[in-house]
């Protein structure tokens, strides 16, 4: 049997390096980012976790944020693509193959971060299998990711072969949503954490993950493959994004209101901290949500250009949101007393990512773009490749 029987490679693989202007910029950026990533990895190999600014009080850093970003993006993208098949949404079909593949690649980019976030990845694989712990959200991620990947891959291979499998697309959709729900649960199930515990993060992750998929879809449609027929799909998703962004904004409002109402300790400090952060207002709210919402509602009904631009900001906003959530669940110290005479009383725990953390986390974006480029070059992704 040939590899081609399983992986739908193009008949004539041709790596086209004649980029458009935008393409050149993106290519240059991704090369720089990959260089950045390698710098981070070398630093990590040299110094281990000392290269990170994580501490006893703030063990999760930017890498967790970056990883969560890619995972949510991945699962959201897969959810949209598999929905297109399962619910037979014609407008989205032209991009389905691409979205299935890109969803998987986003997950791989996430793993490229996770590999250096987790202390012992090999041990993880071995002992998740040998002594997995079902009460752990992290364990279920280890179950759901492979299943999502498997069914997404099958869906894609069958789709390339002209078969729209309801069963596999449904399984992929279910496990993608399970994954993202579980990722949100990692925060939502921190029972002692007054701010994180509850249903907020699970739902926020699903909504923002799918929103991320929409943004990615729009960007690909506009900047990579400028074909007229994709625009219909974008316009459809634009409508969906109004609902999702509105939902997110309402959730934020309710969450923050609930936290400041009565100045509940363990919550109100976090809201105060978040509100004092320009990153939250500028990136997460204004650029990430309000601007896309504005464009989606009042922008051109025919042209997708503006919304696609807004999608770029949307993704930046989502990355910012992931940074904010990881920070928000950790900034209130668990140790409220001093443990040595010469220290300030514990207040908000501050954390700034180290250069290595920035390098690996942001560098993975370069890896993601590079993977997209390779996929474009070698895989059957367009309509002409199908059937």
């Amino acid at each position: 049997m040939m590899m081609k029987d399983f992986i739908p490679l193009k008949e004539n693989i041709h790596i086209n390096l004649n980029f458009s202007m935008v393409g050149k910029i993106v290519a240059a950026a991704s090369v720089i980012l990959i260089g950045f990533y390698l710098f981070g990895v070398v630093n990590f190999l040299e110094h281990g976790h000392h290269a990170y600014n994580t501490t006893r009080e703030h063990p999760w850093g930017f890498l967790v944020s970056a990883y969560e970003f890619f995972v949510a993006l991945s699962m959201g993208t897969i959810a949209i693509a598999t929905s297109a098949i399962f619910f037979d949404i014609k407008a989205l079909k032209p991009l389905v193959k691409r979205m299935l593949v890109f969803g998987l690649l986003a997950l791989i980019a996430g793993f490229a971060v996770f590999l250096f976030e987790i202390g012992h990845p090999i041990t993880m694989v071995i002992y998740t299998a040998l002594s997995g712990h079902p009460t752990s959200a992290l364990f279920w991620l280890g179950v759901f990711y492979p299943l999502t990947m498997l069914f997404t891959a099958i869906t894609y291979v069958l789709y390339v072969k002209g078969k729209e499998s309801k069963v596999y697309s449904m399984l992929a959709l279910i496990f993608a949503n399970s994954s993202i729900l579980t990722a949100g649960s990692i925060f939502g199930l921190l029972n002692d954490n007054a701010f994180a515990s509850g249903v907020f993060y699970q739902i926020e992750f699903i909504a923002s993950g799918i929103l991320g998929g929409i943004f990615l879809f729009s960007i690909i449609a506009k900047f990579f493959i400028t074909t007229k027929e994709f625009e219909k799909g974008v316009l459809l998703l634009k409508g969906a994004s109004i609902a999702l962004i509105s939902l997110l904004l309402i959730m934020y409002l309710v969450k923050f209101l609930q936290a400041v109402y009565g100045d509940v300790p363990g919550k109100v400090e976090i809201v105060e901290h978040i509100f004092a952060s320009p990153r939250f207002w500028l990136f997460e709210i204004l650029l990430g949500l309000v601007f896309p919402l504005f464009v989606a509602i009042w922008g051109s009904k025919e042209k997708i250009g503006m919304f696609c631009l807004a999608s770029v900001f949307g993704l930046i906003g989502l990355m910012s949101a992931r940074i904010n959530v990881v920070e928000a669940v950790q900034i209130v110290p668990k140790q409220l007393m001093k443990v040595t005479e010469y220290q300030l009383p514990p207040s908000i725990i501050s954390y700034t990512p180290s250069m290595t953390e920035w390098a690996i986390g942001l560098g993975a974006i370069g890896i993601f773009i590079f993977l997209l480029f390779i996929a474009e070059s070698v895989l059957k992704l367009d309509k002409k490749d199908a059937h």
Partner: protein, 187 residues
């Protein structure tokens, strides 16, 4: 099989931190201020000099609570954190993947990363040192100048700790979380 716990007569504590050093020396805990299995909490007294509130100046020795419903154990994906036969919460460093989920899940800040093994470390109630040699006290209890701690079997009604808990009022930290801590602070 026992159910080990610890009672702390915390009003005796003078914040000398003998317990912290005894713990480090006994158990080979990594050097470094952040690398402590046990600690003494203190706070700045309320008020302005010379009118400072004496009752607000408290010393609260603490460590892993060895919860019966330990959140750290619940979130551990590989079962690296486990309960031994005596109900002591331990970390099997061979299984630990350093996801640090437990550090975020623990309500008591009782865990830290041992950078020699790059795994999560915590109080063991001296189970692999003193208890393994047949001793009946932990290092922190034995060394304490004012004898804050009493370690023992909660299932044995005749143990000193059972007697103390029967006769003295006590409280646990963050009991509302339902973690069922086995550290008891005597009033």
């Amino acid at each position: 099989m026992a159910r080990y716990g610890m009672a702390l007569d915390y009003k005796n504590c003078i914040n000398c931190r003998a317990c912290e050093v005894a713990c480090k020396e006994e158990n080979g805990v990594e050097l470094g201020a952040e690398k402590h299995r046990i600690w003494v909490g203190s706070n700045n007294p309320d008020g302005e000099w010379p009118n400072l509130s004496l009752s607000s100046a408290v010393f609260l020795p603490s460590q892993c609570q060895h919860c019966e419903e330990a959140p750290c154990q619940e979130v551990c994906p590989t079962n690296a954190t486990y309960y031994n036969d005596d109900g002591i919460v331990l970390v099997d460093s061979d299984k630990c993947i350093l996801c640090t989920y437990c550090m975020n899940a623990c309500p008591y800040d009782a865990r830290y990363v041992d950078e020699r093994t790059m795994t999560v470390d915590k109080c063991t109630f001296c189970s692999d040192t003193r208890l393994a040699r047949g001793e009946t006290t932990t290092a922190c209890q034995a060394t304490c100048p004012t004898k804050v701690r009493t370690f023992g079997d909660l299932d044995d009604p005749n143990s000193e700790i059972s007697q103390l808990l029967e006769n003295r009022e006590h409280f646990s930290l963050k009991a509302h979380l339902g973690t069922k801590p086995k550290l008891f602070y005597l009033r």
